[in-house]
Amino acid sequence: MLIKQSSDIPSSEITSKSGYMSRRKFITGAAATGAAVAAGFYLRSTDETHVVEANNALPGVIKSPLSTTEKPNTLQDITNYNNYYEFSTDKYEPNGLATNFRSRPWNVSLEGLVKKPKKLDIDTIMKLAPLEERIYRHRCVEGWSMVIPWVGFPLSALIKAAEPLGKAKYVAFETLFAPNQMPNQKSGLLAWPYVEGLRMDEAMHPLTILAVGLYGEALPNVDGAPVRLVVPWKYGFKGIKAIVKVSFVENMPPTTWNRMASNEYGFYSNVNPQVDHPRWSQAKERRIGEFLKRPTLMFNGYSDQVASLYSGMDLRKNY
């Protein structure tokens, strides 16, 4: 449909000579700017200095054979580029907005199908098992990835402490709901609080950890302090942050992004280059700090350890 408009513009007005001349300048400027932006990117140096403060180092952290030997991303990049929708939907903003988040005192409630519901404070949780450095690949569903040196311990240690009953088939997690501290929880963007879940065997897998630290120090607020989930073979959004509740349930629990758009985010959300997200390909990823994209690996490169968990399952249906 064309909207008719009175023809009150004489073409001489539209085509002034100075306009014609500025077009010439414009094209030259356009070409130069385009080339320069590209050149600027190429010149970007990738090795930034690590800014690690030495005042809250975690003691007695041991190395783990489950770590990758790939070079970790800088603390600067890890803490200034991530999704934490409770603070902002912009990936660059959460760091500043999370500065005053209070991660102490902190209790995690263990409930549902357990021998006896209980609350553990964060200091007790951090002593459930020796703290290990786990350098993991992290793949975001949006197509970017990082290598992150987490500090944490297997989730299985917490599960053992919770003493779940035999009926428990899934573990459900919940983030803190505190709109006065997490400003975006005042909006209706997602159904707060954020919830996530794992099947019991996924939760018990040795690669699945609760992270309480990063680069040898206490976990920064922006990355989910004081305690978050890390499941390296799944897309990043499965790694629920600032956990206050872990419950053991019989049926598959709801998960936030699945409730938001079930055709885009499944319960499993295993990294899978063959199953595209409806809005973008998952075949490749951009490792932060690299220019060219690299191919995404099945289960984010953890196939050998986790593929057996899903044998016989159609991963196209169970995405």
Binding site: T33, N80, R279
Partner: protein, 214 residues
């Protein structure tokens, strides 16, 4: 209001031109300083995309503004603004083709046919292309004012496709794309309103027909 002198308009045009280069210059400067953040390609993509939409909307506000403010000479800025929309749109597309997809034709074709937000974005750019190409004096003469104006109404569809492109690509936070959409609707509503008035006027000049009889 008295129209400004030729000299003033020329001066204002130079100033506008420099201002329009601002966003690209800031990007360039940040690129050289390595302060584009962890994912520079993402920042370049978003910035050029945002400015394409802004320039489309600014271009579309020239006509309403010149009427509301009774400053008909504002029309002399429209082509430059429209071409800047095309400039940022081209940078945006170039970022996708070069920096994001690295000239992988197969992957891009797959994107265009499978991913609706890419389809919408490509449509928006494709609709801008004939407008940029026929922006010259020669082309206006060749097409004739009437046909040229009809062709250039494609900008409504380009801007709409651009807004849809933005709406379809966000995961959850629709506030920003909807803001652009609201501004676009307002600008199009103004035109619809003008068109309505023009129709009523032309009708009132025709033989009188009572509303009840129709």
């Amino acid at each position: 209001m008295r129209p400004p002198s030729e000299k003033l308009v020329k001066g204002l045009k130079v100033l506008t031109f420099l201002l329009c280069l601002g966003p690209a210059s800031v990007l360039l400067w940040k690129g050289f300083q390595s302060i584009l953040g962890a994912n520079p390609i993402d920042v370049i993509t978003r910035t050029t995309g945002r400015w394409t939409l802004i320039f489309l909307l600014v271009t579309l506000s020239v006509s309403p503004l010149r009427k509301i403010l009774e400053m008909p000479w504002l029309i002399r800025f429209r082509r430059m603004l429209g071409l800047f929309a095309f400039f940022y749109g081209s940078l945006h597309l170039m970022t996708y083709v070069w920096l994001d997809k690295f000239f992988d034709v197969h992957e891009m074709l797959h994107d265009i046919f499978k991913r609706r937000f890419i389809t919408a974005g490509m449509t928006a750019f494709a609709l801008m292309l004939p407008l940029a190409l026929t922006s010259t004096t020669g082309w206006i003469r060749r097409l004739g004012g009437k046909r040229w104006r009809a062709l250039h109404r494609l900008i409504y569809f380009s801007a709409a496709a651009g807004v849809i492109h933005f709406i379809w690509l966000v995961k959850a936070d629709l506030r920003r794309p909807f803001t652009y959409g609201a501004v676009l609707l307002l600008l199009l509503a103004f035109r619809a309103f003008q068109w309505g008035i023009a129709r009523v006027r032309s009708r009132s000049q025709a033989p009188v027909v009572h509303a009840e009889t129709r």
